[in-house]
Symmetry: C2
Subunit: 334 residues, 2 copies
DNA sequence: TAGGTGATGGAATACGTTTTCCGACAGAGG
DNA sequence: CCTCTGTCGGAAAACGTATTCCATCACCTA
């Protein structure tokens, strides 16, 4: 910047006033001269030096895993939203491992980011969460801001999905389209999101008139393979009049779908099938999956809004899912 | 750090020597005292202040789009590799728009990153590339290091895929398994990767003994929809003895597959079909796609290795694809 | 015309760290 | 016992920017 000021024939202070986000006004003539010199010299103010004075203008995103499509969509939306305000985004992944989460947060604190956005399916459900919480609190005490995406029982700003509510609506839909014997492929019992969805499915089915005795719940790994295995078990055990299978997410549903195809079970002819998440794969299978779409990009943008927001009370934002009816469900006679 | 030094009863300089990556040795007793004080006070050295002296220890990743699975895999691998060396990673997306690329690079230069990794399918094929090049050169002149992933005709370090070579091997495989009339669904003529693959397919088919007159090339949009459309056209025009369809990527192949299913063409019964990229979807369709797997994670890690490498001559790394034979191709009688 | 007032450029300082230089101290060798 | 040498702690400078404080200047009003 020294060079720019010299080239423009003004003092360092004037150059800074022009190039920094104008704390004070500068005469138009000088302003123009400085801008021209900066352009000519390809000058950009050093973010590190700038960070040493005021706020840092960088955001730290800590996510489980970028390769999961839903994470990628959220992180991408966050990057977009942050960028539109001129903030930089640094990304770290933890693979959901609480130890790595802790280590990552500790590491990232060195950047003195304006805010820390923690996106994880399993923040609270662990023994380490005490130390994690403590670390996040320390970060807040230093003036940082914590936003958690996907979990709402922590005392930080958060963006959560109304898993239970959306699942309830899906359950109601399944009940109202005439299904009477339903199997829920619920994924892992311990994970928060699948558990909330399962509870919502049950709510909705009951509300729609399905008898408790006619709702069966089976667990499996939260993956395509888990669904495949669960589906094979269902086929092997006999479907016993089951006319709908409700899966905790699309990946599981796709696995079940494959098992049904192997076993000669027609979807939706013999059994209706639903997923959750509306991943891209949901429209690339045959039949296309009836599912619940989560507004992931919106949630990501909302997280950045919270991260950059004015200081204030801790805010919990809940975003709703949307039922997407496609070809994997059909109306039953009765 | 002042507080830490005070708490440990040593000078600022000593604390720095212990906590910074030891430029000099400190008496074990003092060292321990400082470490204990830092732990107690939850102290982490300010990265910005640190960056103002030596090198910044941060890497800038500029990618087209995080939501594309292949990009996500590469970026994720880069993050992992960078992290293992203690570097921070900031990501920016440009949606492949050259204007945004330029603006992003300009913006990111403020961070004085140690290196800039540009991952894009279409860096060179544009009128703006002159200004882009100029900007990157200016960045290099300031001591930065530029690594380009996916394009090799720029004068920077690069990691490229041997599209043509891998396509050639796939072409040979198709020829050697007895296919004699082949249609290449080549995607867009203007894009570098599809064009290189098409050339490779032709090489391989010719080498495997397929006559030039028996290779037909059709173009389409590089997407599932493009493939669907192209596939429908093929079905409508009549396949005229075509016994293999070779697509420029998996997405196109999946589109073609759907068109064939609609049109009653059996894969691989009537026609063999191949893709390229080995995206997750390739194993989630029926039949599972024969394709070429690109070692994306390896390429990402390699890019970081170049980015962090010792100064030296510009290096171009070419990574090979691997033929993955699945169910969408079958051996022909002759 | 003189004094007051508002605008604005310039010098200096602070931010938190690393590193260089200097000085002190201890141990060893003559 | 003195001196030389090696080790290590402490003071200070430097990195690049934003901002505070001061000085100057022009303009307006009485």
């Amino acid at each position: 910047m020294h060079d720019v000021a010299a080239a423009a024939g003004v003092s360092l202070a004037t150059a800074s006033r022009v190039l920094g986000a104008g704390s004070r006004t500068v005469a138009p003539e000088y302003r123009e001269r400085v801008l021209a010199a900066a352009e000519r010299l390809r000058y950009t103010a050093d973010a590190a030096a700038r960070a040493m004075r005021g706020t840092s203008g960088s955001l730290a995103l800590v996510a489980d895993d970028l390769t999961t499509p839903s994470m990628a969509i959220m992180v991408s939306a966050m990057e977009l939203a942050a960028r539109s305000t001129g903030a930089f985004v640094t990304v770290s992944t933890t693979h959901g491992d609480p130890g790595r989460q802790l280590e990552t947060i500790r590491h990232v604190r060195a950047l003195r980011p304006r805010a820390l956005v923690l996106t994880s399916g399993r923040v609270a459900a662990d023994a380490l969460s005490g130390r994690l919480l403590e670390e996040l609190r320390a970060y807040e005490r230093d003036g940082g801001r914590v936003v958690v995406v996907g979990d709402t029982d922590l005392p930080f700003h958060s963006v959560g999905f109304d898993n239970r509510g959306a699942a309830r609506r899906l359950g109601e839909f399944v009940a109202e389209t005439g299904h009477r014997r339903v199997t829920i492929v619920a994924g892992a019992r311990e994970q928060a999101a699948p558990a909330a969805r399962t509870a919502g499915f049950v709510d909705g089915l009951r509300a729609g008139g399905v008898a408790e005795a006619d709702v069966r719940i089976v667990h499996c790994a939260v993956s395509r393979e888990g669904g495949l295995e669960a589906g094979r078990r269902l086929v092997a055990d006999g479907l016993e009049g089951t006319d709908a299978v409700v899966a905790a997410n699309d990946l599981i549903a796709v696995g079940v779908l494959r098992a049904f195809r192997e076993g000669g079970v027609a979807v939706p002819g013999d059994v209706s099938l639903t997923g959750f998440d509306d991943i891209r794969l949901a429209v690339n299978v045959t039949p296309r999956l009836t599912t619940v779409a989560l507004p992931l990009a919106y949630a990501g943008a909302e997280a950045i809004r919270l991260a950059l927001g004015e200081p204030g009370a801790v805010t919990h934002v809940i975003v709703e899912g949307r039922l997407v009816v496609r070809d994997s469900t059909s109306e039953r006679a009765g």
